[in-house]
């Protein structure tokens, strides 16, 4: 049924992504691809992976943005993005067959590939571009929040987190229950001012982003400008230095 759960549990599993920490190494995207091409929605096809125009299905992609503020100060922000497992998921309600659904137990949004007709409307309904169509299988695919890892008792307990979280070398990604205000992720979001992407689209995303911290010591474009730099002075003989002085007059 593609109605949203009428009686959802308080549990809202999701990710918290710290834009202050992410260094844009793409390890999360690569490990996501590696796990999921053998997981719940396997395979994640690639076309011409070694050709001139490679293309494939990825559940997690790392974008990078340049942000320029009023005083001319700029910074690069690496921006990983995957499905946000929205509370008001428009991709679920537009589905004509019931293939797209949101789990009442934990809020994970999934696709039942066995009844998906491949109409692509869910990918049109998602403002975040979280759904990718598998042209080979003719069905829509998306981030499963590694539903096949997080409940997998065959894995050691510390591995039962999404592949992107387990692999992040910088600790920029956290996984947990955002519906529980006492959970580590909820405390982190409250402490750092975590926010929703595109709140105006009214999807109420579960995943939260933490903003980059402001720079230390008030560093900005003016006081770290390259004007302070002078070319290094090479060792010179007394005669050369005197000539330099005279010529500089």
């Amino acid at each position: 049924m593609t109605s949203l759960p009428t009686d959802p549990s308080a549990k809202k599993l999701g990710l918290v992504i710290d834009l202050d920490i992410c260094v844009g190494c793409h390890a999360c995207a690569v490990n996501c691809k590696e796990w999921n091409t053998g997981g719940h929605s396997a395979p994640l096809p690639d076309h011409e992976p070694y050709g001139a125009d490679p293309s494939g299905v990825w559940f997690n992609r790392v974008h990078a943005f340049e942000v320029v503020v009023d005083n001319g100060d700029s910074r690069t922000v690496h921006f990983p993005k995957s499905c946000l497992h929205c509370e008001e998921a428009p991709c679920v309600t537009v589905c004509p067959t019931g293939a797209s659904y949101k789990r009442a137990d934990d809020g994970i949004v999934l696709v039942d590939a066995s009844i998906c007709i491949g109409c692509k409307l869910c990918s049109w309904a998602c403002p975040y571009g979280a759904r990718e169509y598998d042209e080979d299988a003719g069905v829509m695919k998306k981030c499963t929040l590694c539903v096949d890892r997080i409940y997998n008792t065959a894995l050691p307990a510390d591995m039962r987190v999404p592949a992107c979280v387990s692999t992040c070398p910088a600790g920029a990604r956290s996984f947990g229950d955002l519906g529980d205000p006492t959970s580590d992720v909820s405390i982190l979001v409250a402490a750092r001012g975590g926010y929703d992407l595109m709140p105006e689209q009214e999807c109420k995303p579960t995943n939260k982003y933490l903003p980059p911290r402001s720079r230390k010591n008030g560093a900005n474009a003016e006081n770290i400008a390259p004007a302070a730099m002078e070319p290094p002075v090479e060792p010179a003989s007394l005669l050369a230095r005197m000539a330099d002085r005279i010529l500089s007059l």
């Binding site: 990825w58 974008h63 990078a64 689209q201």
Partner: protein
């Protein structure tokens, strides 16, 4: 948005088919549609033929056409599902109406007129559902506005009325009333489409690269996730036609509205020329395909903010 041929054909062909049903019912109730079996068969055959071509075209673009029957199950939430239900339902009153006209060549019964009205209302409902498939998508501001359903609800009957004008000339039941209805619909469609274009040109942006990332300041894509393209960029990042949108809008206005209007006016004041009304039909068809192409090509999707677009 990528203007897929199958979806352009689906919306224009089924729009013309449902439009023809609506206008044929209107003319029938006004006593303008003769009860001959040739007229009934041709009119309804043409209308349902266009509807079937449209529905088949939309079905064959699916990844799994053999599962298409599942699409009628989620009418509680999905406009696509409602469209499927409404489209299938509409066959019943239309075929019933046609059956009564076919078997009672002399006069209409109350039941027949009732079925005709139900057929027209069902066709209007189906057109509305088609429009709302697009009109309900908040990430595409050019679609999720109040004018999208109105555009679909006038353009379908407009193409249907021009079809009926052609049939009236071919079968010799032409009347200035039918021509007049068609002319009114062309003029109304023109003004509604013009205001739609003004609306999408003037509407302030709903989402920006800044709201998409939650970052404050001037936010620009610095590096795409991959060097190559992907499904999202191909499906929702279509940019080519936007360069030509002004020219395509002019083609749409000139060929889709001005030429049919001029021919209809000539038909009202001058002699009835069947070939001219066929020219009007072909012109309207070309204009509406251009209009529908633009409806997709000009629409920007919010997810393109992650691929270099600055606002939608």
């Amino acid at each position: 948005m990528h203007p897929a041929k199958s979806v352009i054909l689906f919306t224009t062909a089924s729009g013309a088919g449902y439009g023809l049903i609506i206008i044929a019912v209107l003319c029938d109730l006004l006593g303008l549609l003769p009860r001959g079996s040739a007229v009934t068969l041709t009119t309804l055959g043409l209308a349902l033929g266009l509807v079937v071509v449209g529905l088949l075209s939309s079905t064959f673009h699916l990844g799994h056409p053999e599962r298409a029957w599942r699409a009628i199950s989620q009418w509680r939430t999905s406009w696509l599902s409602r469209e499927g239900v409404a489209a299938l339902w509409t066959f019943l009153p239309v075929l019933g109406w046609g059956w009564f006209r076919f078997t009672n060549p002399d006069s209409a019964t109350g039941l027949e007129s009732g079925l005709a009205v139900v057929a027209a209302l069902s066709a209007i409902g189906t057109l509305y559902c088609t429009a709302m498939i697009y009109g309900s998508l908040r990430p595409v501001p050019a679609w999720s506005n109040r004018l999208t359903p109105i555009v679909y609800l006038v353009l379908g009957p407009m193409s249907g009325s021009i079809l009926l004008v052609c049939l009236s000339k071919v079968f010799g039941f032409e009347s200035s009333m039918i021509d007049g209805i068609a002319l009114c619909l062309v003029v109304v469609s023109f003004f509604i489409k013009k205001s739609y274009w003004r609306l999408i040109d003037d509407s302030p942006a709903i989402s920006t690269a800044s709201t998409a990332t939650g970052l404050e300041g001037k936010v620009e894509l610095f590096q795409a996730p991959h060097t190559g393209s992907n499904y999202l960029m191909r499906e929702m990042g279509f940019r080519i036609a936007r360069k030509h949108s002004a020219r395509l809008r002019n083609i749409c206005v000139l060929v889709g509205f001005a030429v049919p209007a001029a021919i209809l006016i000539f038909g009202l004041v001058g002699p009835a020329i069947t070939a001219l009304s066929l020219v009007a039909l072909i012109a309207a068809a070309i204009g509406l395909v251009a209009e529908r192409f633009l409806f997709f090509a000009e629409a920007k999707h919010a997810q393109s903010l992650y691929y270099g677009e600055s606002s939608v």
